[in-house]
């Protein structure tokens, strides 16, 4: 469904964030991107929905080159790609429901939506989505009154309102504790398995990667240095580890006994 070809991003200040990155994503995959902070994970995800304009290369999403689309046509591509963020990126002072409804903005008449009214069918849908994620009772609250885990669920609900074919999750659990991290990733996984939404997710913890990923790519300084499956991570060699995380990285596998 998604094909990245020779993607390169050079920022205005000369920083090379992505170098000639190419990979495919099949329908229904749970692709995890790993790598150090600054390795280009976030840039990569944001290039896919053109929050960042790539310098070179192609991003073919359902047969259409997103990288070549003019700004005015982006709306139709973006609304099929949901996005979940590390810091949730909710409008803190708006209600949970308003935040979720905003996910539908790509579909409704832009001028009608300026008054702040959404059709009843969409409101009903939003409540259903919140209910599905177990936070329907929080709908009227201000977004910043919720706990971190709940806020990330609101973020997922907003993405789901888009009826996405693909969800980009940029370190969705990096600000959450381990229990919540599993819960949020579990939610993404069940969406992935039950509704077939493809997920591209950047993660830091390798135990999470091997638990949830169907496929893994490793980035280092904007280049792909590792390709494998979630299972491969378990057998990852020290060399491969140092390829991704650098020579000085020390590999720890906490709480795991030799069998």
């Amino acid at each position: 469904m998604l094909e990245i070809k020779n993607l390169t991003k050079v920022y205005d200040d000369g920083t090379v964030a992505l170098k000639n990155v190419s990979f495919d994503v099949q329908d229904g995959e749970f692709l995890v991107v790993i790598g150090l902070s600054g390795s280009g994970k976030s840039t990569l995800l944001r290039c896919i929905n053109r929050l960042i304009d790539p310098t070179e290369g192609q991003i073919i999403f359902n047969g259409e080159d997103v990288a070549a689309l003019p700004q005015s046509d982006l709306r139709h591509v973006r609304r099929k790609i949901g996005m979940v963020f590390q810091h949730f990126n909710l409008v803190k002072r708006s209600s949970v429901l308003t935040n979720v409804l905003a996910g539908r903005l790509g579909y409704i008449n832009p001028y009608k939506s300026l008054a702040g009214n959404f059709p009843p069918s969409i409101r009903k849908r939003a409540l259903e989505v919140l209910d599905h994620l177990g936070i329907a009772n929080q709908a009227k609250k201000r977004a910043d009154e919720l706990s971190g885990g709940q806020q990330q669920r609101v973020g997922i609900a907003r993405a789901l309102m888009q009826d996405p074919e693909l969800i980009l999750a940029d370190e969705p659990v990096a600000s959450l504790d381990p229990v919540l991290a599993h819960s949020i990733l579990g939610t993404l996984e069940s969406l992935n398995q039950e509704t077939g939404i493809t997920v591209i997710c950047s993660l830091h913890y390798l135990d999470l990667v091997q638990r949830y990923a169907t496929r893994v790519i490793g980035l280092r300084s904007g280049e792909i240095v590792y390709r494998g499956t979630g299972k491969d991570i378990r057998q990852m060699t020290d060399e491969e580890f140092k390829d991704i995380y650098g020579e000085e990285a020390v590999r720890v596998s906490a709480g795991k006994r030799e069998e």
Partner: protein, 504 residues
């Protein structure tokens, strides 16, 4: 290793004795040269400033004296405590600085801070003298001040008047002439009656030394008045201006006997006859009984105060309103995050910020002085002044609200496929409204507060009335105005705090 660096740091640049010698002509120079640069500069600066201030105050106290000795003698005589205390203090400081210069140049000597407390104390002493603090006045004059203060604290008996019924009779008097004295008026049954005898005479005058030369004595006989009632004597000049004549500093009043009659010898009051007056000048003397009938009415000061407090609140509101409209566009120019794209916009940003800072640093009261010249006296001048200040203050607050916008939600809403307008509506506006509302209400609060004083320089609102009452020594009416200001401002304070709490 750490010990080595320590000794290296503490290594003196000059010997203690040299340091001391250097500090003799310039107190603090020794410390400066021995490497304690900040301490040295501070001591040199402080000592020089204090010495100058001391000299300046001595000259002010002992002005008109020419030689140093004479100035000192006169200062000693007029303000001995200050003169001696500061002289000893300065001498002590000088000695302390010399000792300090020696110590600072020695190895591993910890820096003492006591000397700076002495400097602070000396500045405090100079400040006390400069600002002419006399704590004694707080108590010695309190009993005098208590009389007007009492009226301001509880002015409410002046807030109510009663309907009046006036019972009066008048008699004409020919002034400064005896050509054609007016006739004695006819007496009518059931009406009060006043006879003056004679019906002509001289007014009181002022001689070249402004001493009063008493006028003619006129015998007043009244009858037909209400018995045993206080009766006021009034005087009206030839153009009908009424006033109450005084005798020995008191308003002239008489009390009628049980038949409703009275008799009184009135010395004709002082009244300047304008040189343009032509012909015979007939004045009028009146006897007046005033009865306060039952119905209570709000008094004039109360009505005026209410009128003007409403004017004041609306002045604040209008100024805030204009302030919002004008400051929103300016706030975009003053927001760093919006203006950082090129050197032109950065220049605009700095120019805007500078202008706003200058405008804001000038108090609304001063703007009002300018506005009064510009648009004339009245509430509009006050609104102009408050608007100018509000634009500067609000633009700064708004621009900071714009700078503090979280880019996260903008990115998130963009990612949903929203248009630019939708992004503004759903990611930018919700973040800006709360601070905007909060700052605006806060500003309204300030503007109403300011418009209570802006009238003092002619900008309309209640301040004008308050200043007038105080100048007329009408402390009760002033008290009513003060009470209304206090209540209005506290209510507004409470309301605005509550609204703001809800929006943050």
């Amino acid at each position: 290793m750490s010990a080595a660096t320590k000794t290296k740091e503490k290594k003196p640049l000059i010997s203690p004795v040299l340091s001391l010698i250097l500090s003799i002509p310039v107190p603090g120079l020794g410390q400066l040269v021995s490497g304690k640069i900040r301490r040295g500069l501070l001591l040199i600066g402080s000592f020089a400033t204090l010495a100058f201030l001391y000299w300046w105050r001595l000259k002010a106290i002992g002005h008109r004296q020419t030689t140093l000795i004479d100035i000192f003698k006169k200062a000693l005589q007029l303000n001995g405590l200050f003169t001696v205390l500061l002289l000893i203090g300065l001498a002590g400081l000088y000695a302390w600085i010399l000792v300090d210069a020696f110590k600072q140049a020695k190895k591993s000597r910890p820096e003492g801070t006591g000397i700076f407390f002495l400097i602070l104390f000396l500045f405090f002493a100079v400040g006390w003298q400069i600002s002419q603090i006399e704590m004694g006045k707080l108590t010695s004059r309190f009993s005098e001040a208590w009389v007007p203060l009492k009226k301001i604290l509880w002015p409410w008996d002046a807030a109510i008047t009663y309907e009046k019924d006036v019972f009066e009779a008048a008699a004409q008097i020919l002034v400064d002439s005896d050509e054609a004295p007016p006739p004695v008026p006819e007496q009518k049954e059931g009406e009060p009656y006043l006879v003056a005898n004679p019906t002509y005479g001289n007014l009181s005058r002022l001689d070249e030394n402004n001493k009063v030369i008493p006028g003619s004595r006129i015998n007043l006989k009244g009858s037909g008045f209400k018995p045993e009632t206080l009766t006021q004597i009034w005087w009206a000049d030839s153009i009908g201006n009424e006033f109450r004549p005084r005798q020995e500093g008191q308003y002239v009043t008489v009390i009628t006997d049980k038949d409703g009659a009275f008799e009184y010898d009135l010395i004709m009051p002082y009244r300047l006859t304008p040189p343009s007056a032509v012909g015979l000048q007939y004045h009028e003397v009146m006897a007046r009984q005033i009865f306060e009938k039952g119905r209570a009415l709000p008094s004039e000061p109360l009505i005026l105060t209410v009128d003007l407090i409403i004017e004041t609140i609306f002045m604040g509101m209008m100024a805030t309103f204009f302030g919002i409209i004008l400051s929103i566009p300016v706030s975009f120019l003053a927001a760093r995050n919006l203006m950082s794209s090129s050197w032109i916009t950065v220049t605009i940003y700095y120019v805007t910020r500078t202008i706003l800072n200058i405008i804001r640093s000038i108090e609304p009261l001063i703007w009002a002085l300018i506005a009064v010249v510009w648009v004339g006296l009245g509430p509009f001048a006050g609104i102009v002044a408050l608007t100018i200040h509000s634009v500067a203050a609000l633009a700064k607050l708004y621009s900071e609200a714009i700078e503090n916008i979280d880019p996260g939600p903008i990115e998130a809403i963009q990612a949903t496929g929203a248009t630019k307008l939708q992004v503004i509506r759903y990611a930018v506006v919700p973040q800006m409204i709360p601070p905007f509302v909060s700052f605006t209400i806060y500003r309204w609060d300030i503007n109403v507060r300011m418009s209570t004083v802006i009238g003092m320089v002619g900008g309309g609102g209640i301040g004008f009335l308050l200043v007038q009452y105080i100048r007329l020594l009408d402390y009760k009416s002033a008290g009513i105005a003060v009470w209304f200001i206090a209540v209005t401002v506290s209510i507004l304070d409470y309301v605005s705090a509550n609204i703001r709490k809800r929006f943050i």
